[in-house]
């Protein structure tokens, strides 16, 4: 198949990328845009992480040392926002941009210009968010969940900036998601039937659907916050017939699917890597697809498990408890399938596989704590303690983020045409693995022992564990600098990578040379 674009129209047309800044500002190329997304997300990961370091430093010992409580709350809030909307989501969108067209044999994303737009509004949105930190009165300090009325009547003046920044992030995600759906539905190469799609494509298809469905709801939520704060409405104010808890319902109707938006593509990545390094086809492909779909459907019925203590009527509490517990079933199916895929395979443990295996184990641990949280009466004890913080960092950091790292190691040869430094990669993995558990595992104990989240100072009995956690935090943070160094090194040069550097890997992306040419599959391949 030709992997280089034919001239498509009269006027002259260069095959390779444009040069200089123009290339990146004006590009319509899915690979360029993918790279932009990935670099942006890593930058945000560093920024959000630096904020986490501020948090950990302040919590290193009891008493107020570095920051005042109000600033601490801003750090917590913006850390959460940046990591969720700035680090994890753009990283997955970047992977989607790079890989989906290559995986389904398409020349590019379906709507290339819009693709560029979806990316370039992101840096502006986050600049706005970060800028608001420096305005008089400070930035958002009401938690990434911005519960009313703390985010309305009692919020800083800069809240309007926060609202519109979130609007832009939402627009970006929606456009990105539309692009992904249309690409997958409309751009598959001949013979690339639904049940031949790589799971990464499947999971992203469903993720994109979730995004289009819930991002507008988030937009609605921030809009009501805006009118409540500045235009005298009382959606979340009982005095006017509203209800603060209504905000939480609207937010979590977005918020819970949002967390699966951050994990489904991870499932896709892992489902690509484990078979590759087990040299054995993925076990139960079909059940994987159905499991993903059922998780997505269920994710619309469980949102109030974040609200068990808000005083919902008994019936509601029971309903949401049962639905939440149900999600363990399809997720379990996935975990079991991965294990079955490894069973009696011929395993090797290059860095992508190491991260994938760590993902399966640590995500499952996060899932278990999730299940414990789902049990309403017990959640009364866990809720808003560090037990929750431990839960979601296991699913988000050792889940989502680990899968992203696995993906980067897995596809880096295809992107750069160079093999990464395996030794450095192993070092990054082991440092991360150990430090991340020192960082997040003891948080379970903090929570159970009764330490609330979102506090800048704590009672003395929590001192020792917090110290350990902080040390783990710094170590994990520094470990990520190894990763940064490794990626730069690999982009700069290194042992040339074959078209198919991994013995067991499957899929169209490995049929094109490494580095992948600027234009691939301008004439679609035949898929048997």
């Amino acid at each position: 198949m030709s992997s280089v674009a034919e001239p498509v129209d009269g006027h002259e047309h260069h095959h390779g990328p444009a040069t200089g800044l123009k290339r990146w500002l004006f590009t319509t190329n899915h690979k360029d845009i993918g790279s932009l997304y990935l670099w942006f997300s890593f930058a945000m990961f560093l920024v959000g992480g630096a904020m986490a370091m501020v948090i950990r430093a302040e919590l290193f010992q009891p008493g107020l040392q570095l920051v005042d409580p109000n600033f601490f709350n801003q750090m917590t809030t913006v850390h959460g926002l940046i990591m969720v909307f700035g680090a994890v989501m753009p990283a997955f969108t970047g992977l989607a941009n790079w890989m989906i067209p290559m995986m389904i044999g398409a020349p590019d994303m379906a709507l290339p210009r819009m693709n560029n737009w979806s990316f370039w509004i992101l840096p502006f949105a986050f600049s706005m968010l970060l800028f608001s930190l420096f305005t008089e009165g400070g930035g958002p300090n009401f938690g990434w969940t911005f519960y009313a009325p703390l985010s309305t009547t009692y919020s800083p003046e800069s809240t309007a900036l926060f609202v519109f920044a979130v609007h832009i992030m939402g627009i970006s995600s929606i456009m990105g998601a539309i692009n992904v759906v249309v690409t997958i539905v409309n751009m598959r190469a001949p013979g690339m039937t639904w049940m031949k799609l790589p799971l990464f494509v499947w999971t992203w298809l469903i993720t994109a659907f979730l995004l289009i469905a819930v991002m507008p709801v988030l937009a609605g939520a921030v809009t009501m916050v805006l009118t409540d704060k500045y235009f005298g409405t009382s959606f979340f104010d009982a005095a006017g017939g509203g209800d603060p808890v209504m905000f939480q319902h609207i937010f979590w109707f977005f918020g819970h699917p949002e967390v699966y938006i951050m994990i489904l593509p991870a499932f896709g990545v892992v489902s690509a890597i484990i078979p590759a390094f087990s040299r054995k086809p993925l076990f139960g492909y079909a059940s994987m697809v159905y499991a993903t779909a059922s998780i997505a459907i269920l994710s619309f019925l469980v949102w109030a498990h974040h609200m068990f203590t808000t005083g919902m009527p008994l019936f509601g509490q029971l309903f949401f408890m049962y639905c939440t517990m149900l999600i363990a079933v399809p997720t379990g199916v996935k975990v079991f399938n991965w294990v079955a895929t490894m069973w009696r395979g011929a395993l090797t443990f290059e860095v992508p596989m190491l991260f994938a295996v760590a993902f399966v184990i640590l995500f499952t641990i996060g899932g278990f704590s999730g299940l414990m949280l789902a049990i309403t009466p017990v959640d009364f004890q866990y809720h808003d303690t560090y037990f929750v913080v431990a839960h979601f960092h296991y699913v988000l950091v050792t889940g989502a983020v680990f899968s992203i790292m696995a993906a980067v190691y897995y596809w880096l040869p295809k992107w750069t045409g160079h093999m990464y430094d395996e030794g450095l990669g192993k070092m990054h993995f082991w440092c991360s693995l150990i430090s991340v558990n020192v960082l997040f595992f003891p948080m379970h104990f903090l929570g159970l022992a009764g330490m609330p989240r979102r506090i800048p100072d704590y009672a003395l009995q929590f001192a020792d564990i917090n110290q350990i956690v902080s040390i783990g935090g710094f170590a994990f943070g520094l470990s990520q600098l190894i990763f940064l160094w490794l990626v730069i090194k690999c982009v700069r040069g290194g042992e040339a990578a074959a078209a198919k550097p991994w013995e067991g890997s499957e899929g169209l992306e490995w049929t094109v040379p490494s580095p992948a040419p600027y234009h691939t599959f301008t004439t679609p391949p035949e898929v048997k």
Binding site: N70, S287, T310, M325, F336, M342, M372, D384, D457
Partner: protein, 379 residues
């Protein structure tokens, strides 16, 4: 595969006592001092064990292949990739396990939800950043504030035990009685949490949530606000003292007496007037306790968040305007109404202080009777 599975479960059986041992350490959830908190603890441990077992099986199998199915050991990969039987098996089994968990959970929850037939009812009101308790049936009420001195928080003094978990006036409850809590808030959402009772309920402004407890053992129980409620969310602890019913009754009656007497004192005060020294001295105390959290000890506030009082038109301008703001608060802002929170004497003192501290030297004094007049004029 199943063979190894059984082998592993056997292994887990041996491990369980160890895990239980770990469960006894203070790192785990408290058993608490009520029947409900015991149930919750049991539920917590059961589910934890179930997860451990499942985990050990899953990870066990996984590590088995990590160790034995390596390419380096020259194994040829099998090619099986489907088995409806197995899929059905590991869909059904977790489902059954979950049903097994849901049943006891439902029972405990329904029990927790039943607030009927309470012997004592307390209205708990959160506000930035303190708790207010009102014994509905005996109309006795008071505020409960953090008692840990600022100096300890700012590391100027050594931290004492119960750091951040000490309040000036704890909530006092009888043991062996069903106590019903009515939770609400004056401003943002707070959440009233005492781990030993397994009671955590959000205090939503404009709504009332109900919860209940029946304490088995006398003692002092500590908790914290569990919903982000702004700057000092980390500094609004909860302390409950549980006493035998008789002692509790005694405490209540003499508290009533005290409060009645205080009222009387107030009335006397209206006749006489206090000296500048008295006012300033008491004013500073009150200011640091009630106002400094937002307006800061130096009266400069936090730019853009809390207005400063130093040289502000409010504190050096019209005196009545100043009094009104303090007693009625400012709607739609964090400024609360202090008429119910402070006595006439304290109000007079603190307003005088604000008008004369930090170089505001207006020289003006505010007497309890002036404050009283403004309050009355409002009605």
């Amino acid at each position: 595969m199943l063979r190894t599975a059984t082998r592993l479960t056997a292994g887990v059986g041996a491990l369980l006592p160890l895990i239980t041992a770990a469960a006894e350490t203070p790192l785990n959830m408290t058993k608490g001092v009520t029947a409900v908190s015991q149930d919750v603890y049991q539920l917590h441990m059961t589910i934890f064990y179930i997860c451990c077992v499942i985990g050990l099986i899953v990870f066990g199998v996984m590590f088995w292949s990590i160790i034995h199915h390596r390419k380096s050991k020259g194994v040829k990969p099998a090619q099986f990739h489907e088995s409806t039987k197995v899929e059905i098996f590991w869909t059904a089994v977790p489902l059954l396990i979950l049903i097994g968990m849901a049943i006891p959970a439902t029972q405990v929850l329904m029990n927790m939800d039943d607030t009927s037939e309470a012997d004592v009812t307390v209205l708990v009101t959160g506000s930035q950043w303190k708790w207010h308790y009102k014994y509905i049936d005996d109309d006795v009420e008071y505020y409960s504030l953090l008692a840990t001195p600022r100096a300890e928080i700012e590391n100027k003094l050594a931290k004492t035990d119960n750091y951040l978990l000490e309040v000036d006036r704890p909530l006092v409850l009888p043991i062996g009685k069903k106590v019903r809590f009515l939770m609400t808030s004056d401003d943002v959402i707070h959440s009233w949490w005492v781990p030993e009772f397994a009671v955590k309920k959000d205090a939503n402004p404009g709504f009332i949530n109900e919860a209940w407890t029946r304490i088995d053992e006398p003692g002092t129980y500590r908790g914290q606000c569990a919903e982000l409620c702004g700057k000092d969310h980390g500094f609004m602890p909860i302390v409950v003292i549980a006493k035998p019913d008789t002692e509790y009754r005694a405490w209540l009656t003499n508290l009533k007496a005290e409060q009645a007497q205080a009222k009387a004192e107030e009335q006397k005060l209206l006749a006489m007037s206090m000296s500048m020294e008295e006012l300033m001295a008491e004013g500073e105390k009150v200011y640091l306790a009630a106002c400094a959290a937002c307006h800061q000890p130096n009266g400069e506030g936090l730019k853009g968040v809390f207005p400063g009082l130093k040289g502000s038109p409010l504190t050096i301008g019209d005196i009545n305007g100043h009094i009104d703001i303090v007693i009625h608060g400012k709607k739609g802002t964090a400024m609360q109404a202090f008429d119910k929170q402070l006595s006439l004497r304290e109000l007079a003192a603190v307003i005088t202080y604000e008008r004369n501290a930090w170089g505001n030297d207006t020289g003006q004094m505010v007497q309890p009777k002036d404050v009283d007049a403004r309050i009355k004029s409002a009605i």
